[in-house]
């Protein structure tokens, strides 16, 4: 065993946390330097023992309880706290998927001409009723134009 190996063991040996093995003992008997150092380490450890801790305050538990009470009282859980809850996270995810699906379905229906809004008829004389009438007229005018075109075509066919 070398001096470095014994030095590494010295804190444990000096603190009495490790027993002196025969190998270490053999080295210490042959190495005055290590033996002297271990003796001084032991004296240092004994000196460090003098540093005692004062008794804990009798109010320690009372204060801790008060702090725990404050802690729970001021815990308005943030969004992240709730999102971390697995059941809530799954529910939120399902809700989101359902919302998206419904939104898309609804959008598809709205684009169809026979949608519920297309069937609504406003009273004549109101602004909405007049606009709807204009829309219908536009359709009629375009129909008339189509009929005119057909008539012209018939005329063309009839008079080659």
């Amino acid at each position: 065993m070398k001096c470095n190996d014994v030095c590494e063991l010295m804190p444990e040996l000096a603190a009495g946390l490790d027993a002196v093995t025969p190998e270490v003992n053999e080295h210490l008997e042959s190495c005055a330097g290590c033996a002297g150092k271990l003796k001084e380490f032991r004296q240092t450890m004994a000196l460090l023992d003098e540093w005692q801790v004062p008794e804990p305050s009798p109010y320690f538990d009372v204060r801790l309880r008060a702090r725990l009470r404050e802690e729970t009282a001021k815990q308005p859980h943030g969004l992240w706290y709730w999102i971390r809850k697995p059941a809530l996270a799954v529910s939120l995810a399902v809700l989101m998927v359902m919302s998206i699906t419904l939104f898309r379905t609804d959008a598809g229906r709205n684009s169809a001409p026979e949608g519920p809004r297309a069937l609504m008829v406003a009273e004549p004389g109101t602004a909405v009723g007049d606009l709807q009438a204009l829309d219908k007229n536009n359709e009629l005018y375009s129909d008339f134009e189509l009929l005119d075109d057909l008539q012209v075509q018939k005329d063309v066919d009839a008079n080659p």
Partner: protein
């Protein structure tokens, strides 16, 4: 065991689990008891506070050198344990986790108050500036001169330990005063065991040289 710490604090159990109120079983490890805290067991938290209150106070006192601050920091450790109960995973020893929280708090406190601390001068005629207490327990068997020498010695010990580099100081406090072995200290400080051996040897070597006159 007494009633649950949290119930005494007026804090209801989260789950109202059946185990609430029952004392933790003798055979359970601290990590298993912490899992019961996670499940809403109030008495389990009380058990851990009672078990580790003194070690935490002792650790914090030697790190912060002030009784009031040490109590405040030790309470903060338990508050953090309580706050983290729902995310606790028993992947490491409970004490490793506890001392890691404590070390971080102590180091942060030391850094935050580095410029506030007075110089390490010790008045032999007045109570300790930091704790407000006299530095030693009155001992009628000591003469006035011996009492002064003893106080000087204690002041030197505190000062020399405080002057050690951060990690050496933590390692010495854990090894010498918390009776933790190399492996436990290595886990808390996230270092290898050989690094801790070397760290402790250097720290004790420094203390041996600097405290030689008091031996």
């Amino acid at each position: 065991m007494n009633r649950g710490f949290l119930s005494m604090a007026g804090i209801p159990s989260h789950t109202g689990a059946k185990i609430a109120g029952e004392p933790p079983s003798e055979g359970l490890s601290d990590a298993q008891i912490m899992l019961r805290v996670k499940a809403g067991d109030e008495s389990a938290f009380d058990y851990l506070v009672q078990k580790y209150r003194r070690p935490m106070l002792s650790f914090m006192y030697r790190m912060a050198h002030n009784t009031a601050v040490a109590e405040d920091l030790a309470q903060e450790v338990f508050l953090r344990v309580y706050r983290s109960r729902e995310t606790y995973e028993a992947s490491a020893k409970f004490t490793t986790w506890l001392y890691r929280i404590a070390s971080n708090l102590a180091v942060n406190h030391a850094r935050d108050t580095r410029h506030e601390r007075p110089e390490n001068t010790v008045s032999l005629d007045e109570p300790d500036q930091e704790s407000g207490l006299t530095m030693d327990v009155p001992d009628d068997s000591l003469s006035a001169e011996e009492a002064i020498v003893r106080r000087e010695r204690l002041a030197a010990i505190r000062q020399r330990v405080q002057e050690l580099p951060e990690r050496q100081r933590i390692a010495v406090v854990m090894h010498k005063y918390q009776q933790m072995d190399y492996r436990q200290i290595a886990e808390v400080l996230k270092l290898s065991e050989s690094a801790i051996k070397s760290l402790l040897f250097r720290a004790y070597e420094t203390l041996r040289v600097q405290l030689k006159e008091f031996v």
